[in-house]
Amino acid sequence: MIETDLIETNLIDTTVLLTIVLMACVTYFTRLAGYLVIRRVSLSQRAITVLEAAPGCVLVSVIAPYFVSERPADLAALAITLLAATRFSLLPTVVIGIVSAGVLRHLLA
């Protein structure tokens, strides 16, 4: 009932709704599939070693674009953030990252 009201008042477009729902299905599938496959088979020592390396590989890949930024200010801020990450816990590192990026972009703009 609420949904049809929303569609009628143009807050939800049916094609947009379909796209969003299908996106969600694809996304949830990727979350379940790895778990379901691994749950059924037992793992060799080698597979465990590879799976231990995998998380870092994924995280590094997600942030890789920051390492090849065209802006010197961003690269410098990333270097400062990287150094901070080796010494401090999460909150101070995040603050140092934000402040160094803001200040350096201002100075080098």
Partner: protein
Amino acid sequence: MDALPVMIGFIPFALVLGAQASQKGLSIVEVPLMTGLNFAGGSEFAAIGLWTSPPHLALILAITFLVNSRHLLMGATLAPLLRHLPKRKAFAALFFMCDESWAMGLSHARKRAEAGHMIPFSLPYYLSLSAGLYLTWVVFTALGAGLGPMIGDIESLGFDMAFPAVFLVLLRGMWKGFRQARPWLVSLVVAALTYLLVPGGWYVAAGALSGIVAAYLWVEENPLEEKPAQEKEMQEKQVKEK
């Protein structure tokens, strides 16, 4: 408490995504609907970047799968830790698996295992963390959609640097020496090159896969690597006992 800095890190991204989505014509209801059902920032950014009116369904679904393909591996690494949970609970937990909740849940479990807990994975810890992240994401993407045109240049203030900062701290937590981190370097180089040379979200999948292949080959090269280390430890223990 661990969730707080990550939630702060989510806010600028959520605002930017909401603002971008509203510029592409998504309504203030459609934006939280998307972020609430998907809860996957990377793919949502990619989808909004490609958004047309009407949206190109096949393209958006393919990119969504590509960007989220890392979930396959993440789910696989969680599987042994979720073994004690009934399927229903595991399915619910996996709905909330994002890069941050997964990595923090994993490192929390690692710490508990070292402390000698029989069940290293803590569902209450993971769920409270996830709830905080989820609410932050949905609320602030909606806010971004509403405020969209009014928000100035968030990037010039440096808030986007929170994203790599969070990931770098998570990586530090997984660090077990340079030898174990060599596949990460492969991932970084391949992902960066793919990002520069290939348009779209391919760089995540390419970087992650090449690093995993490298890890596999390095184990192959020296499969007994683990054993001598264990033996050495045993010997050291014996010496100490004497």
